[in-house]
Symmetry: C2
Amino acid sequence: MGAALALGERSRGRTTPNPNVGCVIVHDGRVVGRGWTQPGGRPHAEAMALAAAGGAARGATAYTTLEPCAHVSARGPACSDLLIAAGVARVVVALGDPDPRTDRFGLARLRDAGIAVSHGVRADDAARGMAGFLTRQRLARPAVTLKLATSLDGCIALADGTSRWITGAQARAHAHLERSRHDAILVGRATWDVDAPTLDVRLPGLEDRAPMRVILSARPSAAAPPDEEARPPIRITGPEQIAALPADHVLIEGGAAAAAAFLRADLVDRLLLYRAPILIGGGNPAIRDIGLDDLGTAHGRWRLHDARQLGTDRVEVYERSPCSPA
Amino acid sequence: MGAALALGERSRGRTTPNPNVGCVIVHDGRVVGRGWTQPGGRPHAEAMALAAAGGAARGATAYTTLEPCAHVSARGPACSDLLIAAGVARVVVALGDPDPRTDRFGLARLRDAGIAVSHGVRADDAARGMAGFLTRQRLARPAVTLKLATSLDGCIALADGTSRWITGAQARAHAHLERSRHDAILVGRATWDVDAPTLDVRLPGLEDRAPMRVILSARPSAAAPPDEEARPPIRITGPEQIAALPADHVLIEGGAAAAAAFLRADLVDRLLLYRAPILIGGGNPAIRDIGLDDLGTAHGRWRLHDARQLGTDRVEVYERSPCSPA
């Protein structure tokens, strides 16, 4: 299942509106097929893995990060039918599919065909990997990550706006990898106007992963981008409008006003914090006023999920706490 | 040596102007004497350990965190003479004593008496433990720790000044233990006037460790404290004046202006950062302007020495980098 989860990560941010599923097929202790949802959402992971396995799928075990779909679409057959037809003996599933066309029907169809089904294996990790799809199903909006790169004293720039560079090369490469795992990157209008950010993925082999660019601007009349722009940005006038974007994973990259707007609207699911071992003093703060008037209510909302050193910098990932209102 | 270092920590912040040394005497694999510099600076660690060992010191090994003193004072004999008289066979020393009355003379006297001497064992840890004494010897000022307790976005309070509580009970207990290891706690005038901080040590068994209180106030005319005050604060009008305090370990506890004044004067040797998993947004920043106008010069000054979780909070200790100007 760990391998299937890793395969699912390959197309995170590129399968909207479909989930980014991973699948591994094992026969007699040997991997005979691997698959992951392809960009655009098809083929599904199970179809790809079964095609690779061919006849070796008969009697095999399929590990898949999401309940195999039970619905036939114009774009392809139901994965549960494909698994039955291929003669797999056992299917191990991380997470049930909340899509009402599949929810429980996928597993039931497999069991009815005499296939042994295990369910719930590494479900938490699968939920993290497919956060965008699941948030869209549950809350009808994308999953939102807020990225901040700060000094030890929480500044994102000098008072004059200089922010190159606070973090080092390793942290910046990590941030570019995170970009590649999102459909859309959002910045506020001030950041757009001042930095003119390209918001692309500057990592060898991932240059084509540049997500769509979104600008949060209260002024809908802002000048249109020039015609020749390869990736014309989408403008939204309020944080709630991310629900309308054709994106299930949105990364907020700056600045302090955009961060505050999304936090104030309680639309942030994950914090991606890069922190350099420097002090700035009197610099630009990371987040503007979010309407907090009681320290007590600030506690219990965020839970540390992961942390690591990146050179002399540190990255921390916080998730919305299960005890926090969603 | 690890045990001797731990003993030396017992009176850190209470031995000024003497170093807080630890000493362990071992005979045939058994600890026969332990000592640490007593509050006020006398007796010395070696004298206390030798007194505990008695006749068992003959042929023993003495582990001591600092070169035994070579100078006789009105307050006691030279420790190198005491070790020779007790007949120890071997002395293991962490760090040489920079005091010119002892520097190298202490070790030479032991060697001349036929005692085997090892030198440099865990010298870095010893230098950390006796940072106050060593900084006083080298720079004629105390060692200075800057403490900050912040949210993830670097705020030390809400915009209205509310700061109770950002960190949790474990972090606050840790901060009180740090207080007990300093001679003096310093706050800025605004913090003093607003919070009226007691700056004491609220830990069972350590209540008597309350350090002297120091206020940084540009206005020397500030009202004198009431007569009945048990620990009347000392007022200084500029950060350089800490050199005149009868303290070798100074802890700066607040607020943003005092922190900036000491950083600007390059008088901070150690950062003690408590960080709670909350976002404040638009709150009070931890550090005011320190005159930084180039991000490049901010890098390379601080090196992470230690970090640990304290409940849901995290404490990090940064030290002045060896590459940084002292």
